[in-house]
Every structure is written in C-alpha cells, then in structure tokens.
Symmetry: C2
Subunit: 346 residues, 2 copies
C-alpha cells in the first residue's frame, strides 16, 4: 500500500470546487457546468483518485455486489468438505452458469462473490454475510437435494433468484428449463432413428430436474406407444452414469438407445458401451442433456438437449437487479425452451 489514497476532498481542493460538485461529476449528475466538469475530470486524473467503495456503500446502502452461491445438500462425507467446489466444477455445466452470470453482471458493474453452501455452517455464514449488507442479493444454483437456503433468504428479506425451481418450495424467483420438453425431444429423436429397446439413465430423483427429465421421457415414449421404459438412476456424475449403464446392460443386452439426463452421464454411458463392444451410434444411440463443453469433445460428439444457460443466467441477473431496485416485488419464474443439438452419438 502506498501512503494515503486521495479522497474527494483532495480532488475538490485540486479543482477548486466543493466535494459535492466532484461527487456530482463522478456520478454523472447533470446540472454541472461543462467547464467545471472538465476541470474536475482533470483533477481526478492528476490525483489518481478512485472513489472509496465502503464510504459510498455506507450512504447508498448498496454493495454493488451479489453472492453467487453454489448450494448442495451437505454431503455426508466430512472429508468431502473442501472438495465440494472441485466436484461441482467437474461438471462443465456449472462453468457455463458462472460464465453466464459473470458476463451478465459485468455491464451492470456488479461483482459476484463466490460462495459454497455445502454445509449447515456455510449456510449460516452466507445468511450472515447477506444480512450484513455485504451483498445486495443472491444468485443460487443448486447441485441437488433439498436446500433450505432459498427459504431462509426469502425469510430474511434478501433478494434472491435461483437457477432451477427449488425442491423445497419457497417464495423466490427462479429461471428454469422446460425439462419435460427437452426429454421429449430426446425421446422423439431416438424413436425417429428407429430405436426399439430404449432406456434412460436418469438424474437423481430427489431433484426436480431429475424427476422431470425422467417423467418427460416416459410420457413421450408412452405417447408413441411405448408404455414401459427401462430406467436406472444416476447422480449426474460420469461415474454414476457409467454404473447405471452397466446395470442396464447387464439385464438388457439388447438396448439400442439411451437417453442420459446430462452430458457427463452420457459420457459414462458411452464408455461402458464401448467397453461392452458396442458402437455408438451404430449399435446404441446415445442422447445427452445440457450441451456442455463435454458434448463437443466427447467421442463421438454427443447429440444432446441444449439448455440456453447463458440466456438463463442473464435473466437471473436481470430479475435480481429488479428485485434489488424494488421494481419487481413478486417472485417470478421464467421458463426456457430446450433445443435438440444433433451431433454424432445419435
């Protein structure tokens, strides 16, 4: 740290005006003589002044900061504590969410404080953080499970927007995908390819996205005269996808089409199929979900259901800002439509 940073006072003295005037120039308030404006600007440049955020926040009551929270029901494993974030980011899907959020925040000159709600204690810390006014609101994306955080934040009157509908109902805004429609796209694609023995590796059934993708898939199949669909539950990880596929294959070696509820599991599915001597898509067609980075780099590249994550993230930010500014008071939901991206796996 250098000695002492210049303050408004210094700039004002340098420019020969009052603090108030300098403040007006900085905050772009009209009613300032252009000539004075210019001289103030020069004084700012000369002094190398940068406004002190704490002082400003104190009076505006805005932190210009939002909490970007990755929540997951506290895992049983204690030693998994610090690995939580690593596991989360193992799914490129979360990278897309973060990317989208940061991109949408930037032009609004708001900044995200990254927090992981992976334990009860972490939740407490987060609630305290927000109550302190350290952040103006929260953006929450849950990995799975029943998360009490949304309800707690709602109760504390903290503006919040979720990525995906919470399993535990709470009066908060969220953006989400029409999961059932996405699953239908996958089903119809597999059927159109002529698959006869179709199975699905579902997501965890304690999370809405897992349930709905499964339900949507089953419904679509039923509507096409397939009353029964083989299913094995996975946990949205590559390993769990591989394990689920192995179970399915053991009992039904004739499977020729698989819908995996996310790309990571689809990758695991492909590995198991290959190891079983099946070719993708020739012997078994595989459709994933998300359209994350992995879908493009997998071999073969995955046919998948795309979530418009970046748009969804941008909408989260917009809703949150409206809540913060008070232009929107009621919880709101915005549902996006998925899109089928056909590559090589199906």
């Amino acid at each position: 740290m250098t000695s002492q940073l210049p303050t408004l006072e210094d700039v004002a003295r340098e420019a020969g005006v009052s603090r108030a005037t300098v403040s007006r120039v900085i905050n772009g308030i009209r009613n300032v003589d252009p000539v004075i404006q210019e001289s103030v600007r020069q004084a700012i440049a000369r002094t190398g002044y940068a406004p002190n955020r704490a002082a400003r926040s104190l009076v505006t009551r805005r932190a210009e900061t939002v909490a970007l929270i990755v929540a997951g029901a506290g895992d049983a494993a204690e030693d998994a504590q610090d690995a939580f974030a690593a596991r989360v980011f193992a799914d490129p899907f979360f990278g897309r969410v973060v990317s989208g959020v940061v991109g949408a925040l930037r032009p609004r000159s708001m900044h995200p404080v990254l927090m992981f709600a992976d334990s009860e204690a972490a939740c407490d810390q987060i609630v305290a953080y927000l109550r302190q006014g350290s952040a103006d609101g929260a953006l929450i994306v849950s990995t799975h499970g029943e998360d009490k955080l949304p309800a707690r934040l709602a109760a504390a009157g903290v503006p919040a927007v979720l990525f995906a509908r919470p399993s535990l109902a709470a009066p908060v805004s969220y953006v989400d995908l029409a999961h059932q429609d996405g699953a239908r796209l996958a089903a119809e694609h597999l059927l159109a390819r002529g698959c006869r023995q179709v199975a699905t590796v579902s997501g965890p059934l304690d999370v809405p996205a897992g349930q709905e993708r499964l339900a949507g898939f089953r419904d679509a199949m039923a509507r096409h005269g397939r009353p029964y669909v083989l299913a094995a539950e996975g946990g949205f990880t590559q390993d769990s996808g591989a394990a689920a596929m192995a179970r399915l294959l053991a009992e039904h070696p004739d499977i020729d089409g698989v819908f995996a509820a996310n790309d990571l599991m689809a990758q695991g599915v492909c590995q198991v199929l290959r190891e079983a001597g099946k070719r993708v898509p020739d012997d078994v067609a595989v459709v994933g979900f998300d359209d994350s980075y992995i879908a493009r780099t997998a071999r073969p590249p995955l046919t998948t259901v795309r979530q418009p994550v970046e748009e969804m993230a941008a909408t989260m930010v917009r809703l949150l800002q409206e809540h913060i500014e008070g232009t929107r008071t009621e919880p709101t939901s915005v549902i996006f439509e998925p899109e089928l991206v056909v590559r090589e796996s199906a």
Copy 2:
C-alpha cells in the same frame, strides 16, 4: 427488504450500555465484564443485529474480500468474450484451484470476488476495483499468455499472489510447481515401463509451465541416453491434445509412450490412439499431468503427475494475507513438489 435494520446504537440502547462496549463485545476485545458481555449478547439476539460491513470497512480500511482473478491473454475472438469463463472451467484443474482458494479463505472469513481478466477493458475494471479498496488484494491464476495484470497490480501497490510464475516478470509473490521434476517423473515412468519410442504433447510454449514441462521431459530423457524426443505442441485443451497426437502418429506410427503436459490433453491423446486402433496402455502408455478429476474418470484412468493444488491454493491465501497485514513485504515464491500417481494408462 424490511424497514430498517438495527444498528449498534439500537443494541446499545437495548442493553443499556454504550456503542463502544457493544463494539468490543462483537469484536471479541477483552476488558469487558462477563455479565455485561452476556447482556449485550442477548440484546444482539433480541434485536437481530448484524454489523454493517460498509461502515466497518470504512474505518478499518479492510474489505475482508479478495479478488480471485482468472486471467488469460485477451483472445483474438471477440465473440469468445463471454465464453471465456466456460472455457476455463472446461479444465477441471481450475475447479480445483477455486476449490482450494475458497476452502482456505473461509476459515479466515474472507470472501472471493470472482473476476475474469479476459480483455484489456476487463483488466482496467479489475485494477479500478482494487484501487477502490473493494478488495484487499488479489489472487491470480493465468490460463496462458503474457499477462500484464501482475505488473499493473504491483505498480498500484495492490497485494497480489499468483498461481504460477508469470511469463512477464513482475515483483509479485507466487506459488508454483517444480514442473521439471514432474516431467522427469513422467519420463522415468515411461522408460521404466520399457517404452522405446517416446513422444510428448507439450503445453503452449509461451507459458512457463508449458516450456518447463517440455524441458524437464527432454532433460530426463537425455539423461537416460535418449537425445531426441518427439514433440508436438498443444494448447492445454482436449482438442489440441487430440490434434497433436494425430500429427505425431501420422509421422511416427511406432510411438509407444506419450507424456501429455496436462490431463485434458492426455484424454485427447487417448481418444486418438483408440481411434487408431491402439490400446492404452498395452500398445501405447500415456502419462498426464495435474491429476484433476478427469484423470480418475478417464478410461483407462490416467497415470499422471499430481499437483498439490489445494495446498498451493492454501499457501497463496496465507501469503496474500501476510502481504495485506504487512507482516510480509517482499515478494516471495513457494515451489511445490509434484508426485507421480500411477493408475492404468501407463
């Protein structure tokens, strides 16, 4: 937002003491009668008081926040702007870094503001942010290329610690890995396996880690009587690894051992080998680098050189805190030793 949050004043009145006493209790300063302490605590609980961070920061001149910066030389692609973060997190290595940093920050009750320095404008914004005192310091991890940020921050007197030595020398602290030692471990493992035609898919040669892993590999091979090592440059991405392997294989179909400078590229290497009808490790042994999530889930699981990322991140945080508190003034470097993790690919 509810009406008005309680302040120190409110708590003091409620407890029948002065603001100063309440402040002392909150900040755990001794010299407070236990009885009064207790009554203050109760008053805090009754009022639901939470200290206002802006007010505190204003006087302590501490934000209790650090910038967690992911820097990459501004890519040529303009449209790649908002995808930068997504691409970064496509490498699980960065997830580990973030995980480690957040884990180390938490017990110190500091919070990370996530920022991406992917363009000149973004850098300016970051420097401005830090100069405002919005964060007490910066933790920087670069993806590649010549990054001017460290030098700018050093010049601005902002405490900063880097993950990995910067390509452009700057008077800042950093933690790093003994890359050459890591490459040596890989070389010796391949030789011990009996590989005769060994090649390497290097990282980008404009980043120290890329250069050193290549140099270390060549040196180790030379020391074992192999004066010449086939090499193809990659970009630390899966695709680039695949492309590099394809080039190598086209000219040297007899390659039987490959050292890829990171796990993501090793994965690409394995894909290409498999598609060329080569078995890993039977026909070609492959060693990766990093030991990220991908090394465990790849098929076959990758033998790789592990970076103790979590420890490195913890050290970054410790160094940064010392710089912030002024207990450490000189730039410091801490170098960690890698470790070979033998799995199935070699």
